[in-house]
């Protein structure tokens, strides 16, 4: 009975989010003739893909009651490292694999600090955020400048700009695959179930035999892996390595996750909700750009959307 009530409650949350998304889509469709086009939805997904990929893992992490502020910095570290190694002549594929491994190490480091050493996740991941970003700048300096552009191989951009069947950007394909995997993990695997259990009651989870520190490390590693992978894709899309890439991305990820109904205290949330949250932010930003609305209004809109969605969510929870 409790489960079915909870399911209804969550569905109602998603309904509110979908209503907000639908309202944005309808409004933008009236305001801009270019909005309601297939190419524009592909454009929105192209821009949201890195965020959704990383948020898929970060969402599960937040369901355990933890979060990761180092996402943008790990992405930047991986991006600049990929450019650096490619410039040194490493094959692109090998460079991507090595960057992903290094990003996983950042994740493991976060996981050990939070899971084993019980460092507050904000402090632990903030430390990583500064360290990884600092290394990104340092690597650019080793190369002799503020970024890495000279000396990159001519096929450096090919990976990030590949279109599957000539039409579907590869990063959207990665996004679809990642989302499918994380919905599966969330619904069908021990990792998913334990994440909810840890977020719901950490002490009870420990007492019931769940290896909370190990689970925490696994989840932080997954976030690191995806941030690292997205770094290699993004730097390839841009065509040169900038260490300031993805600055503030961690907040965009948190906004998408919280908008999607995942509790910052853990215990509840869903990948599907996170996707709707990301779509709300991405669709609004896209629509405002199409309407040539200045950037500061967009920032205000983003803030208002977050407040409205969280307020609606809280109201539903109270009434529930």
């Amino acid at each position: 009975m409790a489960n079915s009530f909870s399911a209804i409650q969550i569905d109602r949350q998603k309904l509110v989010l979908l209503s907000i998304l639908a309202a944005i889509v309808v409004a933008m469709s009236f305001l801009s003739p270019k909005f309601l086009q297939l190419s524009n939805f592909q454009n929105i997904l192209l821009q949201l893909a890195p965020l959704i990929i990383i948020a898929s893992a970060a969402n599960l992490l937040m369901i355990t009651g933890n979060f990761d502020l180092s996402i943008g910095s790990v992405l930047a570290f991986s991006a600049i490292m990929h450019a650096y190694m490619s410039k040194l002549g490493l094959p692109i594929g090998l460079s991507i694999a090595l960057c992903c491994m290094m990003a996983v190490l950042w994740g493991i480091s976060n996981g050990i600090m939070v899971g084993y050493l019980n460092v507050n996740p904000v402090i632990a991941t903030m430390g990583t955020m500064y360290a990884a970003r600092g290394f990104a700048y340092l690597i650019a300096r080793w190369d002799g400048g503020a970024n890495i552009s000279a000396g990159l191989p001519s096929d450096f951009s090919d990976f990030g700009r590949t279109n599957l069947f000539g039409v579907l950007p590869i990063i959207i394909v990665f996004m679809l695959v990642t989302v499918a995997i994380f919905i599966f993990i969330e619904k069908k695997t021990v990792l998913g179930r334990f994440s909810f259990a840890i977020g719901g009651n950490r002490k009870a989870s420990v007492l019931s035999g769940i290896k909370v520190p190990q689970m925490t490390i696994v989840l932080y590693s997954l976030v690191g892996l995806l941030a690292g992978f997205c770094g290699t894709v993004q730097v390839s899309r841009v065509g040169s390595g900038f260490p300031n890439i993805a600055e503030g991305m961690e907040f965009d990820v948190v906004v998408a996750i919280v908008l999607g109904g995942t509790s910052m205290l853990g215990g509840s949330g869903s990948t599907a909700g996170m996707i709707i949250g990301a779509l709300i932010v991405g669709t609004a930003a896209n629509g405002l750009n199409l309407l040539k609305v200045p950037y500061f209004y967009q920032t205000i809109t983003k803030g208002l959307l977050l407040i409205v969605a969280v307020f609606a969510d809280q109201t539903i929870r109270r009434r529930g």
Binding site: A150, L152, R161, V238, F242, K292, Y295
Partner: protein, 345 residues
């Protein structure tokens, strides 16, 4: 003879010491943001030139693109009792406050590029306005040469309609386009935040809403590179040996990343302008001038510096090589780097 040599030696040593005493000073340079190639290069040149020309020590502090941090950096330099400070900040009100703060402690200040809210101190001004105008003319001319039946449709990526950037960069560029094509239309002007990835995303939206856009101006090279990346992702960004096929892109600063694209005959990013070395040297000269009393630190004076245009059609790779070596500490071989980065057709 020995006495004569000894006297000459003593005299030359005394002269050298006297010169050192006159110029062996410590000055401060507050960088707007060390993340950018432009600001890194300026800081490096100020340090090197100051040491070489005046035996001066320069304390460089990073403002990290934040007015509050820039002001704190100025306070830090005041506490270190430097003899003069150069500030590069887009915050005109904060710069004015910083000048007054330093002046209260007897420390003169020189500003660069963006003048303070009140013109009351020496200033170094790269002549960006005429260079931006001439780039607008060139962009429109080259577009219309290749596409005479398609009037210019311009998109601009700026820093959020920041007034000095409008005066120095975006407005003159647009006026340059308009002077060639009276039917030109400024389709949109959005904030690229000076960032490549953000500009890439915004340009994707711009081209979705306005596929007719055929000239894009990024108010720095990072934004122009983002615009190019967006164009390339949707099958645009192309030229055929310098003949415009899809659009013409212009940037600003003249850094290495931009040059690699500009001299790729098939890329649509084709022009930029910038001044680093001469700006840095003018800042250093002004600081020393104020310290030695040759320049009045309490009077507005403007040292003008040429902002050199580099473009695919009128500049050569050897010229760009020299520009990069002089201005961006570039140590590579531009021709080789271009060949490596350029895709074979």
């Amino acid at each position: 003879m020995k006495k004569l040599l000894g006297l000459a030696l003593i005299a030359s040593l005394a002269l050298a010491m006297g010169t050192a005493q006159a110029t062996n000073v410590t000055v401060g340079h507050v960088v707007f943001n060390l993340q950018h190639q432009f600001h890194q290069a300026i800081a490096k040149e100020i340090v090197d030139y100051g040491k070489k020309m005046y035996g001066a020590k320069v304390i460089v502090l990073d403002g990290q693109g934040d007015s509050d941090k820039i002001l704190k950096a100025v306070e830090n330099l005041i506490a270190q009792k430097v003899k003069a400070i150069s500030i590069h900040s887009p915050d005109q009100a904060m710069t004015l406050a910083a000048i007054k703060l330093a002046r209260a402690k007897g420390i003169p200040v020189v500003t660069t590029l963006v003048w303070p809210a009140e013109k009351l101190a020496p200033h170094v001004q790269p002549l960006e306005t005429p260079s931006s105008f001439s780039m607008g003319i060139l962009a429109a001319t080259k577009w219309l040469e290749a596409n005479p039946d398609k009037p210019c449709r311009v998109a601009i990526l700026d820093f959020g309609k920041f007034p000095p950037v409008e005066v120095l960069r975006t407005t003159p560029f647009w006026q340059g386009v308009k002077s060639v094509d009276p039917n030109a239309e400024l389709v949109t002007e959005l904030n690229g935040q000076g960032d490549t990835t953000k500009s890439m995303e915004i340009t994707l939206d711009i081209l979705q809403a306005n596929p007719e856009v055929n000239i894009i101006f990024g108010a720095n090279d990072e934004m122009a590179l983002g615009a190019l990346a967006a164009c390339e992702q949707i099958g645009r960004g192309k030229m055929d040996n310098g003949v415009a096929l899809t659009e013409v892109i212009a940037g600003l600063d003249g850094n290495v990343s931009a040059m690699l694209k500009i001299f790729d005959p098939n890329s649509s990013f084709k022009m930029t302008h910038g001044a680093v070395r001469d700006v840095a040297r003018a800042e250093m000269d002004t600081m020393i001038g104020m310290v030695t009393g040759k320049i009045d630190p309490k009077k507005w004076s403007e040292t003008k510096v040429l902002s050199v245009v580099t473009d695919y059609w009128n500049s050569s790779i050897p010229e760009a090589q020299v520009f990069l070596q002089d201005n961006f500490l570039y140590k590579g071989k531009l021709a080789d780097d271009i060949a490596k980065a350029t895709k074979k057709k």
